[in-house]
């Protein structure tokens, strides 16, 4: 580590990994709820809805902790100075964690805003905003006082501001359900297919640049093109969520056309990453980081690009909207685009905290492949369940519960695969906490 304040990142990453683990455990409970009949007495106390609120909010929280920690790590190196205020960074972390814990406990006792993914109650939203403002101020001041201004910094900071602004649209109470969902997607879609792509694009470019020793100008040129395409297709592509909510018919066209183009920037990212690997100037010290980086790019294309594309066109989406197909896409996309990015970042940064040059990679490799393969198979199982559901319920007109019973086998398979995913995650988390210098015999 070149700068002392880069260490802040560590304290963001540790809780992130713990939350990741809890998220998976709750996911297993959700899978179990689909696979078997949970008795009424348990459902009354801990319903699916509560577990789902926890599962999804934990996902958002641990990913954001990763992104913010990533920002605290890379901003000093990019600006060539320490973080403006370490104290503020820790204060922000405490606010974020307190909000998260209170929200999770609150969900259990039925304290909720009652809107999927945005369940955090409004009073707590205020704390989230305070935390976000502290973060933006701290990073902003660091960049302002820094001696180097880079495209990576601009993309990161721009993405974070965009991210924070969009969150505001999720706070008000909307009387009209259609308008409510319209702006709900400003948070959800424009986060994952806009702001988050900027933030992670910047982090990914930084990691690649450092790993491969490639010239900044090359990396940043492609970063511009990628985020340009991401935002061009992603902003108007929000329309693919506006097909069936009571909005005008032109969204079928706008959503269909723009979202059909959405895989393009991801494809460019894969090609770009591949080129960096081929033209690298540094020797590969830890091949695992490269496996992870290339894996992230490919999985991003698979989960977000391909699995999103298959049901984004209105004629198909008419039958698959709100089915397990969405669940399949959601899991593959979040894992491929964001969870893997964080894990790549952790494997890049953690050895530096401990001054490790070269570490033993066996556990890391097992962890990566176990998680990646089981998530892929889980995504496929959800997809088959979704096809069965769409056919029986939407096409043939069977009742909801009848269709659910036809697809139940596939939900059971997905749940069993989930247990393998849990093992992969445990190995990865254990390995990250226990990295050691590899001794040569």
């Amino acid at each position: 580590m070149e700068y002392k304040s880069q260490e802040i990142a560590k304290f963001y990453f540790y809780p992130a990994l713990l939350l990741f683990l809890i998220q998976i455990l709750l996911g297993l409970y959700l899978g179990f709820s689909y696979s078997s009949t949970i008795p009424q007495d348990i459902v009354d106390v801990f319903p699916f809805s509560t577990a789902r609120a926890m599962h999804t909010n934990l996902l958002v929280l641990w990913l954001l902790l990763g992104f913010m920690g990533g920002a605290y790590y890379l901003v000093p190196e990019e600006t060539k100075r320490e973080i403006w205020s370490s104290k503020l960074a820790y204060l922000q972390l405490i606010i974020l964690l307190v909000t998260g814990v209170v929200a999770l406990v609150g969900f259990f006792f039925g304290w909720t805003q009652g809107r999927p993914l945005l369940e955090i109650p409004r009073p707590l939203d205020m704390l989230v905003v305070v935390g976000a403002l502290i973060f933006l101020y701290n990073i902003g001041m660091t960049i302002l006082k820094g001696s180097q201004k880079t495209v990576i910094l601009g993309t990161l900071f721009g993405g974070m501001i965009f991210l924070a602004l969009l969150y505001l649209f999720g706070i008000p109470f909307y009387k009209n359900a259609t308008i409510d969902w319209y702006y709900w997607w400003w948070v959800i879609h424009l986060w994952v297919e806009g702001a988050w792509e900027l933030v992670t694009g910047a982090i990914f470019a930084f990691v690649l640049m450092k790993l491969a020793g490639i010239e900044r100008s090359v990396v940043e040129k492609w970063l511009y093109v990628e985020i340009g395409l991401f935002l061009f297709t992603g902003i108007a592509g929000t329309g693919h969520h506006y097909y069936w909510l009571g909005a005008p018919k032109y969204w079928l066209w706008v959503g269909g056309i723009f979202s059909a183009l959405e895989p393009l920037p991801i494809l460019l990212m894969v090609i770009d990453t591949w080129n960096h690997v081929k033209h690298r100037k540094e020797e590969i010290k830890n091949p695992l980081t490269w496996t992870l980086a290339v894996g992230t790019a490919f999985y991003h294309l698979l989960g977000a690009g391909l699995f999103g594309f298959v049901h984004t066109l209105p004629a198909i989406n008419y039958y698959t909207h709100g089915s397990q197909i969405t669940v399949s896409h959601g899991h593959l996309a979040f894992f491929g685009a964001y969870a893997l990015l964080n894990i790549t970042l952790f494997y890049f940064v953690f050895p530096k905290f401990k001054n490790i040059e070269k570490y033993d990679e066996r556990k890391g490799k097992i962890g990566f492949w176990t998680m990646s393969v089981s998530m892929f198979l889980m995504g496929l199982s959800f997809a088959v369940a979704g096809i069965v559901q769409s056919y029986f319920e939407r096409f043939l007109g069977f009742s909801y519960m009848e269709a659910q019973l036809y697809m139940r086998l596939w939900m059971q398979i997905a749940t069993i695969i989930g247990i393998f995913f849990l093992f992969g995650a445990i190995i990865t988390i254990y390995d990250l906490f226990n990295l050691k210098e590899k001794k040569f015999a």
Binding site: R115, W181, L231, F232
Partner: protein
Amino acid sequence: MDKKVAFWIFLLGTLSSAILFLYLTFDTHKQVKVLTKVENLNENVVAGKKVWEKYNCNDCHTILGFGGYYAPDMTKAYKRLGDENIKDILKKPDVIFANSKRKMPKQNLKDEEIENLISFLKWVSEIDNNEWPPQHSEKRISRTALRMSLSENIGVGAALFKVKGCITCHSLQEKEEKRGPSLAKVGSSFDLETLKEIIRNPKTFNPSSKMPPQNQLTEEELQKLSEFLLSLK
């Protein structure tokens, strides 16, 4: 391509998409008033939406296709179930779903909350949302009728006449009375619109009619069935 060109790709790509999106948002706000029938969006509906949110219904159920996927979609629930069924389910889910493989938590709602929630679901069911979900679309035709139409090489309207049970009470042979009159020449007595009206509300044509109103037919089925009847001359 140098960095400057790349920058312009970024700037123009982002701006063009954002401008289009913001303009359409502005227009959507205007059109949503009509599409969601805001004149019916009264205090009870708003109170009902708050009940929907208070009990986190949306993390099991979907509405307009959004939410948890663990329980049925509520977009057209009002049309599917009606007031009384929704009330029963909300009051004692443990009894209603005693034999179901999936349970609904007891929420112990107040009567007022139930009334408001029903108003909300009624309002949602009337949103013009491009005929989604497909199984409750007014453009849907019974799959059984479609299959019969193909396999027996008869028109869709004729197939509906059999599948929907019209044939139980009405003969297509002249002068053959079943429970209801023969329809062998019905097409020469009425026009299309009158036929539709009679099928939906038999009593408007003949106040002493014993025929049940055929509310379960979708608009498309009603159209096809009436076209078939019109052809009987």
